[in-house]
Symmetry: C2
Subunit: 229 residues, 2 copies
């Protein structure tokens, strides 16, 4: 019996990863983390999408780890606006976050008898987050295998894909893209201006997939410049 | 300024690691984890020893991770008795525990400006715990460096040492060996019969260092056989 533990935020990327895993594995478990992020809407969204797919969903409490480290995602520092790939997004880094998540997911997969851990890291994450790069992933995968006598492997199927590719793939797999949450702000609607919102909007536009998201600001930006309609 | 984050359980090995780190680094932070282990005496001991050295001590709450995984250390399963290196100790494995701890310590070190993470893994741990082996350590160290753009390295100074070597080293560095806690049982005194107690007793004996520990059962065993006095 094949098992996948999907590191699952309820965001667009990990929802597409979950949709594909459900089609590919006998058993799928969705694993979210509460690391003290200011928007619990993310965890509510994750629970709703996991329930839609009928998969087991665990939320691991990592608020203690969040409190130990520094990041504008877990503090009162203002969230930076503007393009996702710029220098100012660096304050949204939770140090070693993917490394911690990957190893906790590895522990869970091992305790369920072994299987694959799926991380929905993608190409656009590389510039800002060191723990989203292919060389990090290869090393983390080796570490997980060594930590479990080869019972658990880590896979990142989107690591060489763009967000646009993931939107296309999600549309093909009928993933509930409209239900996913991307915004770094903690509002009830996507702000449309933070790094992940501008990236999300542009990805739907470039994929040629209708964007079901209601944004507070639906202007389309590319590299900080408004895209002509 | 040099920084060390010592993964610190209040046990013998990590207390010796802390004693050496205090002599070698400008700043030392002790990091313990509460993963739902049944004996909080371990955390109390850690706090007391960290206070004695005047170093900052953080306890990160990982009970959520402990609850996700399976181990006799965090459940009601009986603790196995007998030699530390035997097959029956396998139920004391918390899956991927060192991998998770190492990455959380990495996140903390990174948020403090970068430095070294010290793990007190030793040679005797290799047989039972896959995430205590040299090849695991090398891979985890590479993963930590990649996750932090080279700001954090992981070191395991005892990885090729025996427990006996560590007792000798601790005596040299005047580490408070008598205050440390090893027992896997949750009693008020070292039981003297569980895997870590028998290993501890034998290490003092072989190091020729007087053992300050009060054991409920102070018989000396080697490979399950009583050692003649």
């Amino acid at each position: 019996m094949s098992l996948a533990v999907v590191s699952f935020s309820g965001g667009l990327d990990s929802t597409v990863a979950l949709a594909i895993a459900v089609d590919s594995y006998d058993e799928v478990v969705a694993l979210s983390a509460d690391y003290g992020q200011r928007h619990t809407v993310e965890l509510d969204t994750a629970a709703r999408i996991a329930a839609r797919y009928g998969v087991r969903h665990h939320v691991v409490d990592l608020t203690g780890y969040g409190a130990l480290t520094t990041s504008s995602l877990t503090s009162d520092e203002p969230i930076p606006h503007g393009p996702y790939d710029e220098e100012n997004m660096a304050s949204t880094v939770v140090p070693a976050r993917n490394a911690v998540f990957a190893m906790i997911a590895t522990g869970l997969a091992e305790s369920l008898g072994g299987g694959d851990v799926i991380l929905a890291i993608h190409g656009g994450d590389h510039a800002v987050y060191p723990d989203c790069r292919p060389e990090f992933l290869a090393s983390a995968a080796a570490t997980a295998e060594l930590a479990t006598d080869g019972n658990v492997t880590i896979d990142a199927p989107f690591i060489h894909m763009s967000k646009t590719d993931i939107v296309k793939l999600g549309a093909t797999h009928h993933a509930p893209l409209g239900e996913t949450w991307s915004c770094y702000e903690g509002g009830r609607q996507h702000c449309g201006r933070c790094g992940t919102c501008t990236e999300r909007k542009l990805a739907f536009h470039e994929a040629g997939v209708p964007d079901p998201t209601a944004y507070a600001d639906d202007t389309l930006y590319r590299h900080g410049q408004q895209v002509p309609a």
